[in-house]
């Protein structure tokens, strides 16, 4: 599904990703953990197509195509979805109207007819209930006046609406209380399937109690420095990130 090779990316001249490689197969759930500032959001942004980041080296192939050459909307049409760490508020643009436009753009790209009003409403109802998102919120301006938790649930709602094949979740758990976390995790779990892959970026192990990953990677200083199974997350929870840092920067004897 996704193969990242030796990816280097910078922003404002500063190199953030320093030769990152990873491979995600259909149906797999990969967790990416790492200390703040290690480049997790940068990786998510580069995969989603944020122009602010400049890729200086490496390749990203997605379903056999060069992902880096595509506009963000084209990536979306091909099944990439990013749940933002900080969802953007867009006053005056209705959540539901823009989602309908988004769905229809994707359908057009696939040579399909626009979605019918009935079908669309049915889907809204179904997917909103998946993350227990209030009906009122689906109709409001995108994220405007939403609480932190509502914004995160809205991200998962949009994800469910758009039916992606590669879901990238950037710290969707941060700022959520335990009940909201369970709701979000439950929503994600229901979306798991053999054709759909997940990259779950998180700082804490907590979310991984509910969404059990197939692989856990540790991202440190722009590179993946460790990969393991779900038990690696528990180890990180127990020991923190310092031992990783020490391993990477051994004190000269």
């Amino acid at each position: 599904m996704l193969e990242v090779k030796n990816l280097r990316a910078k922003i404002e001249g500063k190199e953030i990703l320093k030769g990152l490689s990873m491979k995600v197969n259909p149906g797999e759930v990969h967790a990416i953990m790492g200390p703040n500032g290690s480049g997790k959001s940068t990786l998510a942004s580069v995969l989603a197509g944020n122009e602010d980041f400049e890729v200086s080296e490496g390749t990203v192939s997605y379903k056999g195509e060069n992902l880096l050459e595509m506009e963000p909307d084209v990536r979306s049409h091909k099944g990439v979805f990013l749940a933002f760490q900080y969802p953007v508020e867009i006053p005056g643009v209705s959540n539901i109207n823009f989602l309908k436009a988004a769905i229809n753009e994707r359908r057009e790209a696939h040579g399909q007819e626009p979605i019918t009003a009935k079908e669309f409403l049915k889907r809204v109802k179904e997917k909103a209930s998946l993350v227990e998102l209030d009906n009122k919120l689906t109709n409001r301006s995108v994220n405007e006046g939403f609480s932190g938790g509502e914004k995160k649930r809205n991200e998962i709602f949009q994800m469910a609406m758009l039916d992606p094949t590669l879901c990238i979740l950037d710290e969707t758990d941060s700022g959520l209380d335990i009940d909201a976390l369970k709701i979000v995790a439950n929503g994600v779990n229901q979306l798991r399937s053999k054709d759909r892959s997940f990259i779950i970026v998180t700082h804490y192990q907590r979310l991984l109690d509910y969404i059990v990953p197939d692989f856990v990677h540790v991202l440190y200083d722009g590179k993946i420095v460790k990969t393991g199974g779900k038990e690696l997350a528990l180890e990180l929870e127990e020991k923190g990130y310092d031992w990783i840092k020490e391993e990477q920067n051994p004190v000269e004897a």
Partner: protein
Amino acid sequence: METLIEETKISALATSLSGSFSNKIPDHFKNTAERATGLMSGLEFPSTRDEYWKYTRTAQISKVDWKFSDEIFNAEIPAHISGPKIVFVNGHLNSELSDLNANANFEIGPFHESNLDVEKEFEPYEDFRTNPFLALNKAMPQNGYVLRVSAKSNIENTIAVVNIYTGDKVISQPKNVVVLEKGSSAKIKEYHIHTKNSGKTFANTHSSFVVGRNAQLGIDILQYGSDESFHLQNADFLLDRDSRVVQNTFTQEGNWTRNNTNVRIQGENVNANLNGFYIPSGTEHIDNHTIIDHEKSNSESNELYRGVLLDKSVGVFNGKVFVRQDAQKTNAFQSNGNVLISDTATMNSKPELEIYADDVKCSHGSTTGQLNDEAIYYLQTRGVPKKLARKMLISAFAEDVLKHLVSEDIRGEIEEKIDTKLAK
């Protein structure tokens, strides 16, 4: 040298125009016209040294050998303007294209046939030195519409007024008068259309609105200039107590547009609303100047002007709010927001508050910025192409003005103009 100086005088233009002026001035207005003619001598075309004209040059107007035109028949009314309307072409009534009839509740007709005299009430505010074009309009007023709504009458349907300006080097000076008597209400939509590819046209309009006690007036103005048009629209409002007014100005296109709207709040508990939206492209120039004068207490005014500026266009906003000493408990809000779509577009925005009362709530804000790139990126990641994402953001921005529309039926053409201008 002598002649050069002479040419910058408004009175020189008036003299050269008098030969082609064929409209009849109604008796009640003759004194006003004479007075305006007299006061005009010595007035120059405004220059950018004049504060009121700082960002809007009139030199291009002063250089054209303007004349009035009697040509009224070759005018076409855009198909989308349906329903009853009163139509003026180059400052003359075109009764063939007009199909608006008065009834017991209201009178409507051309200025020259009306004996409705409101000039005296406006005289204290007249300032030809600041705006010499007003003197020109009053010296040679042409036909616009006069509407009088009887006390307690409510005109159900929107009254459509269509002004067409056509020909080459043609000046038009429609004079409009609207009087809403006590407790009456009316809705108006005004079209100002400069014919494309016909040559240079200059509309120098003036409207007097007298809104009586507890009366309600709503007016939408649609301005369609051409590549060679000069559109100068002057409006003066007198508002009596308990009245409510909404004016929305949509500058759809046009080479040079200047709107001067002055509102005098003469009673308590008035609600005055001035809104505008403009989306200039190419080298278009659009200038909105407003004055809201709170003379009495307990009234409220709201101004919302929003602009989207493309290419090398220039926008100007100047909103002056006066709160006089007697106008305690005034609420005055003003906001001007602009989005620059190109690096070469310019916006000059100046809100001015002059407050002489102490117990008031006033706020003004002016912002000029770019579209939110983060929002565009966010929408793109959901599958919305960049162009459509931009359009969504601009539509949302325009909606803050559009939601004040008096006649919802013109929404479509405004949204369409936004779409076509952004698509280029």
